[in-house]
């Protein structure tokens, strides 16, 4: 395909051939010569369109980078603040849950220890046959009562320990949120570096400069920030049951 303006000689040659063909009434040749001339024009036009398209593409790429930065500053940075505040709330809740559970366990553990020390001393005397019958009778009652009370105390302790266990889930959840904020900071840094490259050296941004986060997992939903999320297990259950689960 011709990719340059043909020389003047070639054009004069074409014009002469066209004139000759018309004069001798050879319409077929005349049409073919006209098509050839037109094709050269078209090729040049396509090249121009190509150049324009390239410029438009680069401009749009820069524009989308600008958009990304605008989105980061307008939406994601304020969101990140909310997310980090939520991390503080969650860690505080977990610490309080743990402290409450420990504070509720300690008196039970203390009273169990005191009672078992007392009973153990009495039991020792019984084993050494130093105990009168009347006192032994009351010891058996004390023992029976101790078994009842300790079963209840130990159940409470077990329950509180499970609460402490579950409260540690905050580490996973806040970890996921913090990771997301770290990624945001990296995105922002990357976009700013890219912006400096463009404005400084007129480079076009590389293809991967606009990070795509949409298809990735999102981590825990943060109240007031994340939309179209379920609020709790009941929401999950009703959604699943609507799907036939």
């Amino acid at each position: 395909m011709t990719d340059k303006q043909p020389s003047a000689d070639a054009r004069i040659e074409q014009a002469r051939a066209l004139l000759a063909a018309l004069e001798r009434g050879d319409d077929e040749s005349a049409d073919r010569i006209l098509d050839d001339i037109g094709r050269v024009r078209e090729t040049l036009m396509f090249q121009e369109v190509g150049k324009l398209t390239r410029q438009l593409h680069d401009t749009l790429a820069n524009f989308s980078l600008d958009e990304r930065i605008a989105d980061l500053t307008e939406n994601e940075i304020p969101d990140a603040k909310e997310r980090l505040n939520y991390v503080i709330t969650m860690t505080e809740q977990a610490a309080n849950t743990t402290l409450n559970a420990v504070e509720s366990i300690l008196p039970f553990a203390e009273s169990l220890r005191e009672q078992s020390n007392e009973l153990s001393a009495q039991w020792q005397r019984f084993r050494q046959r130093e105990m009168p019958y009347e006192e032994f009778k009351s010891l058996t009652q004390d023992l029976a009562q101790y078994f009842d009370v300790s079963a209840g105390h130990l159940q409470t302790i077990q329950h509180s320990l499970t609460e402490v266990l579950m409260a540690q889930g905050f580490q996973d959840l806040t970890g996921q949120i913090i990771r997301r904020v770290i990624k945001l900071v990296q995105d922002l840094e990357h976009s700013l570096v890219e912006l400096i490259r463009i404005s400084g050296r007129r480079f076009k941004p590389s293809g991967d400069s606009v990070p795509e986060t949409k298809s990735e997992p999102l981590g825990p939903a943060v109240p007031g920030v994340d939309k179209n999320t379920v609020q709790n297990q009941d929401d999950v259950d009703s959604l699943l049951s609507s799907l036939g689960f």
Partner: protein, 124 residues
């Protein structure tokens, strides 16, 4: 009953492991993402899979799809325990063939209920 617990946070794996022990399950294995979980599943013997969604390497939803696509594992019961809370994601997991979905943070009672429900259904 051998159970594989997959989560990238070791604290969460310990929580689930302890809860399972309270429920009477003692044969528990762990993996920190789909990539390390899949060979463990493929080598056989695992009866139940509990997995997180958001993990580096291979995510839980991709692990679920890989399990369902493997003829030897396709019937394996899978419980997802995750913080992913978008409605679309729960629908996605259901379509990929999950047997149960527990949203973090969860309670010991919820985990127990969902596990029991899965086994009830399998026996029915």
């Amino acid at each position: 009953m051998k159970i594989l617990v997959v989560d990238d946070f070791s604290t969460m794996r310990r929580i689930i492991r302890n809860l399972l022990r309270e429920l009477g399950f003692n044969n528990i294995f762990e993996a920190d993402d789909g990539q390390s979980a899949l060979p463990k599943l493929q080598s056989g013997g695992i009866d139940f899979l509990i997995t997180d969604w958001n993990m580096p390497g291979m995510t839980g939803i991709d692990l679920l799809r890989a399990v369902r696509a493997d003829p030897n594992l396709a019937q394996l019961p899978v419980l997802m325990v995750t913080a992913e809370a978008k409605r679309d994601q729960i629908v996605e997991a259901a379509q990929a063939g999950v047997n149960g979905y527990v949203i973090k943070p969860f309670t010991a009672a919820t985990l127990q209920e969902k596990i029991e429900k899965i086994f009830e259904r399998l026996e029915a």
